[in-house]
């Protein structure tokens, strides 16, 4: 695995953008994640509600994040996650920004999302450690790509 490696203190902390890229205000989960990621030593950027996929990509690039974490519970992930990935590609950033997903995502959609590059796709009840170690792994990959 090697994914659960502790972050070396000399390294820059992981910068992560948390976003709910849909017309949806249910933000309980994202606030819990934001705090947990912060407690795990990450720098969390949360732009507030209703960012468009375009805004998410702009913020991610401006803020030089390692990871974009997007979460949806309203069933529109196939359309919207895809849009985020397309825009990321358009800006040639798909290699050095990792995208992870989560929310209410049916089992059957997970491989489809993996295929377009959105990994994780965790549902409610996933232990926080599992999510955090996945993000660390993806962040490492993204950084390795960048440098």
């Amino acid at each position: 695995m090697g994914s659960g490696k502790n972050q070396k203190s000399s390294e820059r902390p992981i910068r992560i953008l948390l976003a709910k890229p849909a017309i949806d205000g249910h933000d309980r989960g994202i606030y819990v994640l934001a705090r947990a990621f912060r407690d795990a030593g990450m720098e969390v950027i949360y732009p507030g509600l209703l960012p468009t996929p375009e805004e998410i990509i702009n913020i991610a690039i401006d803020e030089d994040v390692d990871v974009i974490a997007i979460s949806l519970l309203n069933g529109s992930h196939m359309t919207i996650f895809k849009k985020v990935m397309e825009l990321l590609k358009k800006r040639h950033a798909e290699g050095d920004i990792a995208v992870v997903g989560g929310g209410t995502i049916p089992e059957a959609d997970r491989p489809k999302l993996e295929k377009i590059g959105v990994t994780g796709n965790y549902g409610p009840g996933t232990p926080m450690n599992e999510i955090i170690s996945h993000i660390r792994k993806r962040a490492e990959e993204a950084r390795a790509n960048k440098w």
Binding site: I23, H26, A34, R35, G75, T79, P106
Partner: protein, 565 residues
């Protein structure tokens, strides 16, 4: 602390209540202490420290109460003398998905199977005032509820449903004034007069800023629209609950039971202040304020919460607002089982959770109930799953024997003590909110939002370390999850809705639309106008939700929430 006494010259009503309720009615609890030392500890063979919930409660835990009866002030035991004896609660299943045709079919299905009231769920684009033909709505049409873009959709949605006979509840927060106007317009087109309509608007915008986060404008603009609906309803639709003050979303966003109780009632009192400011006599409008609470997994806490809510409302309406009519003092509420407690893991377990939670609402005296379906952690419910949820209520009502007596837990040492404790904690919150500057100011400062986020994080940490259990999630997990069928909302809904709105736009009289939108703009700018007739004219001309909302966006601007992280 210490000798610092009265805060200022005029001690507030809330501080006084806090002092009144926190005064111990009796010193210590001799029977309990004796039992603890002489019976419990020898039995356990060790000494035990006190915890927040004691092993047992006694009459010393309950303030001596006059024999309170149901249907009598302060209504702790229920708002009607006979409660469910003779007539159970209204079984009102929240439903909506896809196109208006899809939802119309589901509503008729539920009515056929014994549902007794309607409750409509609208999709996110509708709730955020974004038309189905807007690019932003792509992929979200009909996903979380039914899509309504113009009056045409509303006509289809209620086709063949006797609006003069069923009561309809609509969850329509930010665009409430528009969907409310559409509902009346549909009825009028069918020759049904507004005064024959009965139903409820979930138009409580305060809880949107606190919890669910659906809004268009700054709070003052939405509150003005609520005032207008209040004034319009009081005058024209006497049986209409123009607002359902909602704790459900506050709880689901992560609040504790006490926070749900306190923030919801604080919002309720804010609407009362608003009605009085609008020049209404309190007894003319308070009777049509209704409530909506969550029912989560902790049995006694939920039951005590419902009982405390009734007692607080009655007490404050009488003491602080001087309401005289019993109807203003009675807190009527709808309850929904908790969506948060449902798990996608081992989804059939959710049937048990929902049944328990529904039972608590019955023991707590709800007027109407929605039971969640077991598949709702995964998707909107299938027809079969929704039927099981409805049957759950029917089983409670017709097999379990809980319809009588009224308030069977009244007099339980523990339930009474807990009711009082939660009541006190709610008053402490009212007092704190007032010190911040009132509900609106507290929202702008992110006070409630922060409290809820803290509580939600703590809960998550308790789950992470196993202090709290969710069966199938952090205990009794299974490696292989069995798949169940779930409802799929195809892109067909989007195509149908877009085709329909294109037709509507082609057929409508464009200059009439512009005229009514322009008149609405002028009315919006003058706060003394009642907006309902203006919105009504616009919807009747088939102006879309997005067009109407955008007029408001130009007049009022948008709202950015305070940062809490």
């Amino acid at each position: 602390m210490g000798k610092k006494a009265k805060t200022s010259a005029t001690e507030s009503y809330w501080s006084k209540k806090v002092a009144e309720l926190s005064a111990p009615h009796r010193k210590g609890n001799a029977a309990y202490e004796k039992w603890h030392k002489n019976v419990l500890e020898p039995w356990l063979g060790k000494t035990v420290e006190g915890s927040e919930i004691r092993e047992v409660y006694t009459k010393d835990d309950v303030a001596p109460q006059p024999d309170e009866m149901p249907g009598v002030y302060p209504f702790t035991r229920g708002i009607y003398p006979n409660m469910y004896i003779g007539k159970p609660w209204t079984m009102r299943m929240f439903s909506g998905f896809g196109t208006p045709e899809d939802t119309n079919t589901r509503l008729k299905y539920l009515l056929k199977h014994g549902e007794t009231g309607l409750s409509i769920a609208f999709d996110e684009p509708t709730l955020y005032g974004i038309d189905c033909d807007n690019k932003r709505a792509e992929g979200e049409i009909g996903k979380c509820g039914v899509n309504v873009t113009s009056l045409k959709d509303m006509e289809v949605l209620f086709d063949g449903i006797p609006l003069d006979k069923v009561s309809t509840s609509m969850t329509i927060n930010a665009p409430a004034i528009i969907l409310f106007s559409m509902y009346i317009a549909v009825a009028q087109k069918r020759g049904i007069k507004p005064e024959m309509l009965s139903g409820t608007l979930q138009a409580d915008i305060l809880k949107e800023y606190i919890a669910q986060k659906e809004w268009f404008y700054p709070p003052e603009a939405h509150l003005r629209m609520i005032r207008d609906m209040m004034l319009y309803s009081v005058k024209n639709i006497p049986k209409w609950n123009y607002i359902s003050v909602s704790g459900y979303h506050i709880r689901e966003a992560g609040a504790t039971a006490v926070q749900e109780l306190a923030f919801t009632l604080a919002d309720g009192f804010h609407y009362v202040d608003m009605g009085i400011e609008a020049g209404l006599d309190v007894d003319s409008f308070a009777q049509r304020i209704s409530f909506f609470f969550d029912s989560s997994m902790n049995m006694f806490e939920e039951i005590a919460k419902f009982r405390a809510a009734r007692r607080i409302w009655a007490t404050v309406m009488k003491e602080k607002y001087g309401a005289k009519s019993d109807r203003s003092l009675k807190l009527r509420f709808h309850a929904q089982t908790s969506g948060y407690t449902l798990t996608w893991q081992q989804p059939l377990n959710n049937i048990a959770r929902t049944a328990l939670e529904a039972l608590y609402t019955v023991l707590g005296g709800a007027q109407s109930i929605h039971t969640n379906s077991y598949d709702e952690a995964l998707a909107l419910p299938t027809e079969d799953a929704a039927k099981v949820a409805l049957r759950t209520q029917q089983i409670i009502a017709e097999e379990s024997g809980v319809l009588s007596p009224v308030d069977p837990l009244g007099g339980s040492y523990y339930v009474e003590a807990l009711t009082k404790k939660m009541e006190l904690q709610a008053y402490e919150y009212f007092d704190r909110i007032e010190k911040i500057g009132g509900v609106l100011e507290a929202i702008k400062k992110g006070y409630m939002q922060g409290e809820i986020a803290d509580a939600s994080y703590e809960r998550q940490m308790r789950l992470e370390n196993g202090d709290d259990v969710m069966v199938g999630v952090n205990k009794y997990r299974e490696e292989q999850e069995k798949q169940i069928n779930t409802l799929k909302i195809s892109m067909r809904a989007q195509r149908t809705q877009r085709a329909r709105i294109a037709q509507v736009k082609k057929a409508r009289n464009e200059s009439k639309v512009r005229l009514h939108l322009e008149r609405l703009r002028v009315a919006m700018a003058s706060s003394s106008e009642n907006l309902v007739p203006y919105v009504m004219d616009a919807v009747k001309a088939y102006a879309t939700i997005g067009e109407i909302v955008n007029v408001g966006r130009e007049v009022y601007g948008e709202w950015k929430e305070p940062k809490i992280i």
